[in-house]
Symmetry: D2
Subunit: 349 residues, 4 copies
Amino acid sequence: MSTRRFSHSDPELDELYSDLSTEHLQPLWELKGLLTPTPTVASVPHRWSAAQLRSLGERSGRLVGIDRGGDRRVLACANPGLGGAPYAVSSLWAAVQYLGPREVAPAHRHTPAALRFILEGSGVWTLVDGDPLAMSAGDLVLTPSWTFHEHHNPSDEPMLWMDVLDLPMVAALEAVFFEEGPSEDVERLTDPVSRSERSYGAPGLLPPPAERTTPTRHSPLLAYRWADTDRALARRLDVTGAGAATMTYVDPTTGRDVMPTMRCEAHCVVEGASSPRIRQTGSRVLTVFHGSGVAEVGEQRFDLGPGDILAIPSWVPWSLHAHERIDAFSTSDAPVLHALGLYREQEQP
Amino acid sequence: MSTRRFSHSDPELDELYSDLSTEHLQPLWELKGLLTPTPTVASVPHRWSAAQLRSLGERSGRLVGIDRGGDRRVLACANPGLGGAPYAVSSLWAAVQYLGPREVAPAHRHTPAALRFILEGSGVWTLVDGDPLAMSAGDLVLTPSWTFHEHHNPSDEPMLWMDVLDLPMVAALEAVFFEEGPSEDVERLTDPVSRSERSYGAPGLLPPPAERTTPTRHSPLLAYRWADTDRALARRLDVTGAGAATMTYVDPTTGRDVMPTMRCEAHCVVEGASSPRIRQTGSRVLTVFHGSGVAEVGEQRFDLGPGDILAIPSWVPWSLHAHERIDAFSTSDAPVLHALGLYREQEQP
Amino acid sequence: MSTRRFSHSDPELDELYSDLSTEHLQPLWELKGLLTPTPTVASVPHRWSAAQLRSLGERSGRLVGIDRGGDRRVLACANPGLGGAPYAVSSLWAAVQYLGPREVAPAHRHTPAALRFILEGSGVWTLVDGDPLAMSAGDLVLTPSWTFHEHHNPSDEPMLWMDVLDLPMVAALEAVFFEEGPSEDVERLTDPVSRSERSYGAPGLLPPPAERTTPTRHSPLLAYRWADTDRALARRLDVTGAGAATMTYVDPTTGRDVMPTMRCEAHCVVEGASSPRIRQTGSRVLTVFHGSGVAEVGEQRFDLGPGDILAIPSWVPWSLHAHERIDAFSTSDAPVLHALGLYREQEQP
Amino acid sequence: MSTRRFSHSDPELDELYSDLSTEHLQPLWELKGLLTPTPTVASVPHRWSAAQLRSLGERSGRLVGIDRGGDRRVLACANPGLGGAPYAVSSLWAAVQYLGPREVAPAHRHTPAALRFILEGSGVWTLVDGDPLAMSAGDLVLTPSWTFHEHHNPSDEPMLWMDVLDLPMVAALEAVFFEEGPSEDVERLTDPVSRSERSYGAPGLLPPPAERTTPTRHSPLLAYRWADTDRALARRLDVTGAGAATMTYVDPTTGRDVMPTMRCEAHCVVEGASSPRIRQTGSRVLTVFHGSGVAEVGEQRFDLGPGDILAIPSWVPWSLHAHERIDAFSTSDAPVLHALGLYREQEQP
């Protein structure tokens, strides 16, 4: 019997509650904690250490074939506050993926959207709907909702990157679809510039409107290169003059977030400086690309270095303090909060 | 220890799994059911009967004061598939609210948005940010996200209506805020036309752009009257020629859904006819205003009459068959599915 | 030789100017009045009197067959400031059209968009892409860009209405296209409600998104009835509390102007009151439906009564003063000024 | 007497026409050429030669001070078909501007929007609302509607570029405003990267939404550098595989045209190849940056080389044929045609 029973010392009320239960009804006045002054947040601040992620990734690479299940060798961050669910924060899946030399993770597609931020190495290609995207350290690579994608490692070195997916949201909305795909023979695996970049990768320039791809809900630009991000952060630092800057990855055809469910951001904090202490509705996952320092998340402090992954729950103030200049990447569910009229942001003293 | 432990007969793997668990990581290849060919749906088709809702509402009215908790006398539909959660379907709260003679449900506001569809009676006013909205049978009344609202029953009769809220989604995104409000002395409680209708209630006519209210995420029109809906359905039936028609309630300043999280629709099916059998991603709650017939939801059939409430889970085909002409009202999370690029709809044979 | 010659007393300059002329070049420093502090306005305030329009319309009806030229019996308002061009103001064509008993103005279409505001009478139908729109006093009827349209007068009475077209703008952009069309046998000429109104004529209600007509640049609602306009003005007067109110006709699927080139507005001013004295970039044509009073346009005053047509040039302050309650209709090019970022509006003391 | 008189051999008609004229009315059936099957186009194909433009610019520089009138030393292209109006095509002003060593063209602003395409040289700065934009060959620099702008030539060399303005359209809409501005002491005149480029000049990266400049009707990126354009054309050529490619300059925050009235495009045609022969509603001005070849515009052929300016009227088919690889820049009124629903494009055999 799944319906909750409420009880009361008053026999008449008790009988009402029993009849309500029989009818699959619940009395609002006995329900607590539904409408709270500020959000009830399940996930907790947490850091996964790069050393552990790499070491456990390598052990998995030795012990587990890529075809073992799910066709991907992935270690999912499971937030300690979420009761065993394999989610880094309430609304986002985050994981490290380990692809050994000569391995191929075969083609499939799913409605949950994914992105990859490459922490180190190079030489792996992700194919998205037939367009080979070279993956190198610092790059952001998108595999949007319902696009076929596969990963190829033709090199002699293993490679490891961070995956982020909107899976918790898509699952909560009961809209997960999945399909295996035909893997492709790809001759263009040596082209460092993807087809998507050839048309959509220039600053302030696009193909003529009639030649653009049919508008989709995601960016037609699928790979964002670190060299561009690095230069953009440096230039933006000059404008903010604050020792910290953030740039948002956008769909160049709309200026909106790269995908409808996830905002991607690059952050830098120069040596000795701090990023503003803010809190936002919605959850965030952050990883460090370069540098080191400390993250304050609510009451907690975490030492941070390259490759560490950090969970920042909803409405918890956070900031970064750089011992040496930090370059970091984060993903949040901000586009969803915006779309639903639920986004709030506060700078904290 | 909240993190899941995986185990294996291979000792090396078992040790890996143990170390993963310590580090709050989970091996994707051991997780089942994450990416399914079609959605995994938790809620089940269910009907709450009008007779029970009314009778239990009345008993609650006798036994429980309105100030008992939550400031509302509300019976929440708890879908039998949701393990005791007070939600009618996975993404929507639905409930009946019972307000006795001379009662006032005091002012508050919350980020979850609400709507009221009045099943019978009249004489109650809902104030939304100071604008009194008369409530009569067949009307739709909005209390959008973060608007102060209160209910007044100055009459000698109790009144009962259906509430629908987007609470499950706002809670999942950890964005619930709540605030009590100053209740107002309202002199205009006898005005059958709200301020919102005076400016935004005409077909194809709006105040000049410079005089419109600052754009918000919800309709500035807050009350939709049954007489208009009834005429619109009749006219639309002439166009479809199919014995069934649906009209969507919209924000007249944008043509979009009345609120960013919930689509509201009026349906009619003439005697002897059926609505198309469709399935959609996302969940729906439907109630009957007039008429009777049968709802097919997946494999199940439910007799339907005025005031019954029906839960239609994601991706389950459904249709209505009218014994006598049915007028019905439904709310779904379709705007969210659309905004996130996850909406799919199929007509079923 | 069409190129302008500039001359100068300095022989060297004179030779330069001569050479410039040969090369079809002009020296900016000799051009005057290109960039003026405020707009240079060619058209002048003017009123065409209803009595003259009706009488000359009737005489044309007697003397000139409808097939004489242009397939329409139309008298075009020619602003005295425009040097003989047949335009009421710089950017708008306005005219009265006279259709005799049993006459039919045959089908054609053109890229200039047109609208009809019916000053008196009833019984005429305009077909727009096959949808018959009954025309009665006070109604607004649209024949958007490139839609086939024809007018039928099956009655025994002649009928006269005001046409407004965006022809000057479309001609200036060199984008006029024209095509004769197949006139249709129309059985539905007795239906007082058009197909467009059946689907798009209800306040705050639309067909479901998937059933709406493919989005176009114009409103799918093609007829706006006086009864709705009248009630909307009355209700809006209650909100403004100023003795004057304006409502804008909109596309119900977007809340935007009914067509991309012309804004349509209904105005009322109660007895003894005045509308705000404002000036706006862009031109306007106004006609009176009911009532009488005085229009101030710049320095000029015009007595106004039913059926008079008034030209209000760009950036000239204007207001209406009602001796008896005035209901008026106006069209302006405001959507173009808005789209191009050129709209300015000022309230004048 | 500005009103046109129509006359007729029939005395009754003649009297009617006389009375119409008195009332400032014109009979549609006597007006010819208003609604034509295809556009009536006033401007004609024309080429202004680079050699003449440079030579006449230099002579003007010697003979005419910059403060002589209009504060700019500008030679306006006057299309031979426009009866002496100083417009290159019906809807666009095009001109060459010549700024001598050490000269400053002082600050002003106007509602007509302007853009500069630099044909040769470097060392001049345009300040737009205080942001110094270095100007070098191949760059596009925007001075959008109502932004203060001034030009500084601190070098020892004169400089010459092409100006394009939407003046004909703004004048036709009677919305020209002009204001002199305070010229600024600018210390940053040595910074090769403008403030606008620091925030908006990276591919697929923008400041976070809350840090972006308030949305305006124009691109916040004000300078587009040739190096980026050149690379974008090269990459796009790989995708089209046709020997010709076009890229559109866009507002990176929206993907839309850089200004609401003018589309800017870069074209390249490789040696021996041709661009597609197309015709479009709306007018275009094109200039060659590199290379040489032939332009076919309607029935006419023009030899083209660097710095030549070409007028392409509405609805006239045109294409480029490259003897040596052509890089060209063009501006058209396409955004206006699009906004008003009047854009048509046809590929011609």
